[in-house]
């Protein structure tokens, strides 16, 4: 997963330093900094770890420990679009497992992976708080309720269309 990370051109140390400095004044600044970095670059580059450690007077191990603990923080950039599908109980009761199966069998897209054209990343989440209109998803942060196979097909066609 880390292979190629170093070579990623998205990271910019000057911008990273500015973001870190901006948030370092907050109490418990680590998570706000990580969110801001991920928002800017789409992932948390390993080269940010010593910068954060330095700014907050922490060890690199402490910072790495925090980054690696949370599901949100990615070690590599994802696809252009992200579909987060809820796989928790309420959505299970409305058949989300069948939709995930459809993604895998029909569209050859697996949860946790990105389409070959880099267009669409599929992630599993556990509850989006839209449990009365299950199955629920977030497409690039926008809520989708009553997800069905037609909606899944449409999302894949629009965002992972260039798949080989």
């Amino acid at each position: 997963m880390d292979a190629g990370n170093e070579a990623n051109i998205g990271f910019d140390e000057v911008r990273a330093r500015a973001i870190i400095a901006k948030h370092a004044v907050l109490q418990g600044a680590t998570l706000p900094i990580l969110h801001a970095l991920q928002h800017e670059f789409g992932y948390i580059d390993r080269r940010a770890t010593p910068l954060i450690a330095d700014a907050l007077n922490l060890s690199r191990a402490e910072v790495h420990g925090t980054v690696s603990f949370y599901h949100d923080f990615k070690s590599a950039p994802g696809g252009k679009h992200t579909l987060k599908i809820c796989r928790a109980e309420a959505c299970q009761s409305m058949g989300v497992d069948k939709l995930v199966e459809r993604l895998e069998l029909m569209h050859r897209l697996k949860v946790g992976e990105t389409s070959p054209d880099g267009g669409l990343t599929i992630e599993a989440v556990y509850c989006l708080g839209n449990c009365a209109l299950s199955p629920a998803a977030l497409l690039d942060g926008e809520p989708v309720g009553r997800l069905d196979s037609a909606a899944i097909d449409d999302i894949v066609t629009r965002h992972a269309g260039a798949r080989a």
């Binding site: 599901h71 299950s134 309720g145």
Partner: protein, 519 residues
């Protein structure tokens, strides 16, 4: 005359097209040259009717739903701006059976007011509780919350006033108020709805807590799966600060309280209070051993009130109307109301606020109208992923803290998830263990390793290999996790598993055709 139309901005409503409906109504009004003001409100909680469109009339608001963008022209044609009948019409919202039978204290304003307009909040009784608290000695505020019988709505059910009293009595140069808005339980969305639909209620509740214990700083920790709630909360905090309701002189009390919204990062365990504190401090969300209690040594080592969104949000009502008025609702030691959330395979899902003590059946049948699929109901999980699965014969169990414990379940955060006949309870039991394995913080062995062993053992049982012996292993494991885990995640994961084994044993005893054939 300027007609007022209300369309929800709640993310559940948006998920089924509320923004498009609002646009369609605006466009249609433009085409017809009619002056229409579209107010974006929170949700009334009738999620099966979203996108819900309401119109202000002399009789009160009249409801239409679920509305599709293509319905806009027909609604205008029928005269919906006057509240005229239409196939999607439900009459006056407040007279609808589903609304009328509720006891909305905490959610009285949600779906009614513009969530970010302080003037509307005030006009609907907002800030009366805080203004009263501003004139009271701290100990009296704590006493009032204690007398109301309010218990932690996050699930643990610990008396809120007792927690506050401990913080009040702890000497310190700095104290904190932390709101747990890491609403991770599947089937729950009350915190989200309140933060999106009536955020000032939470701000008011946290400010009251601050005044009650002498805390000057608050944090609301919101899960990252709720981007809309986070955005609304941030805006509401800025508005409240601008209006002098947060800051150096809260509501004229001469005392200071201010707050910040913070974003979680996708970790269920951060709904556990000590993990949440670790996360706020910038570390891995690993559980702390207790004692010391957060009330003595909490955020940054200082005395800290940490409560759920719904606990804080109940306080303005309690301060305004009095402890006794609140305690008049409820059953036994479960006082007040609970915003229940009706979810999953349900015909009419949404938010139902009722006095504690309502039965599961009342919710699922009277309000919910049975399953969404139309197939028979088979199981109802109450209280999130750590709650029990109940069969039909236990649906008359009252939803109160002690009553749910007696039924070997728990009330949790008031989520009620319905499953139809297609559910396989062995699969659900396995998922409970799998979820625990995914979300375990890793600090204690019973949770970290026990959950993975649980998945394997349930797999073995389902596959039919030495069922008797594997069942012994599983029972032993469940007991160990219950007794030996550091927090509720490992400690309560056995609840759904045991309930599935007890009430639905047949799902674990199916002939294991494939596995046996392969051997």
């Amino acid at each position: 005359m300027n007609a007022r139309v209300f369309v929800s901005r709640d993310s559940a409503a948006i998920s089924v097209g509320a923004n498009k409906v609002a646009d369609a109504i605006r466009d249609e009004a433009g085409k017809r040259g009619v002056d229409v003001e579209i107010v974006r409100v929170g949700s009334r909680g009738m999620l099966w009717l979203e996108p819900l469109v309401e119109v202000e009339t002399e009789r009160g608001r009249v409801a239409y739903g679920p509305v599709k963008p293509g319905d806009a022209a027909g609604l205008f044609e029928a005269g919906f701006l006057r509240g005229a009948p239409h196939p999607l019409g439900h009459g006056e919202t407040d007279e609808m059976d589903w609304m009328k039978r509720q006891q909305r204290l905490t959610f009285a304003r949600c779906g009614v007011i513009d969530p970010l307009l302080i003037a509307e909040y005030r006009a609907h009784g907002g800030f009366a509780g805080l203004e009263k608290a501003a004139r009271m000695p701290p100990a009296d505020i704590v006493e009032m919350v204690t007398a109301s019988g309010l218990r932690g709505r996050g699930g643990a059910g610990f008396p809120t006033g007792v927690k506050w009293r401990t913080v009040l009595g702890a000497p310190a140069d700095q104290k904190y108020v932390v709101c747990n808005a890491d609403e991770g339980d599947s089937g729950t969305f009350a915190d989200r709805m309140l933060m999106e639909g009536d955020p000032f209620t939470l701000i008011e509740g946290m400010s009251i807590a601050g005044l009650a214990v002498g805390a000057t700083k608050g944090f609301v920790y919101i899960r990252s799966e709720y981007p809309h709630a986070f955005a609304t909360m941030e805006k509401a905090i800025a508005v409240a600060r601008g209006a002098g309701l947060l800051g150096a002189n809260v509501a004229g009390s001469g005392r200071a309280f201010d707050m910040e919204a913070r974003l979680g990062a996708g970790a269920y365990i951060c709904g556990e209070e000590t993990s949440l504190l670790e996360s706020l401090e910038g570390r891995r969300g690993q559980v702390r051993a207790k004692p010391p209690l957060p009330a003595i040594k909490g955020l940054f080592g200082k005395p800290t009130i940490i409560n759920n969104v719904l606990s804080f949000a109940a306080c303005p009502w309690i301060l305004t109307h009095g402890a006794e008025a609140y305690a008049d609702y409820g059953l036994g030691r479960s006082k007040g109301t609970q915003p229940f959330q009706l979810a999953g395979n349900i015909k009419r899902g949404g938010l139902v606020e009722l006095a504690l003590g309502a039965t599961i059946r009342q919710l699922v049948e009277d309000f919910g109208g049975g399953t969404h699929s139309g197939r028979p109901l088979r199981a109802v999980q109450v209280g999130g992923p750590l709650g029990a699965y109940f069969p039909d014969k236990l649906l008359d169990t009252p939803l109160g803290y002690e009553e749910m414990l007696a039924a070997k379940g728990m009330l949790g955060h008031g989520g009620v998830v319905v499953f139809d006949a297609a559910v396989d309870l062995a699969k659900q039991a396995r998922f409970a263990m799998e979820f625990c394995a995914i979300e375990s913080c890793g600090k204690c062995t019973p949770c970290r390793i026990g959950s993975t062993r649980g998945v394997e053992t349930i797999d073995n049982i389902v596959a039919g290999g030495e069922r008797g012996k594997n069942r012994e292993v599983l029972d032993d494991l469940l007991q160990l996790m219950t007794d030996g885990s550091l927090c509720a995640l490992g400690g309560l994961t056995p609840i759904p598993v045991v309930s599935a084994l007890t009430h639905f044993p047949e799902d674990f005893e199916k002939p294991a055709g494939l596995r046996l054939a392969a051997e």
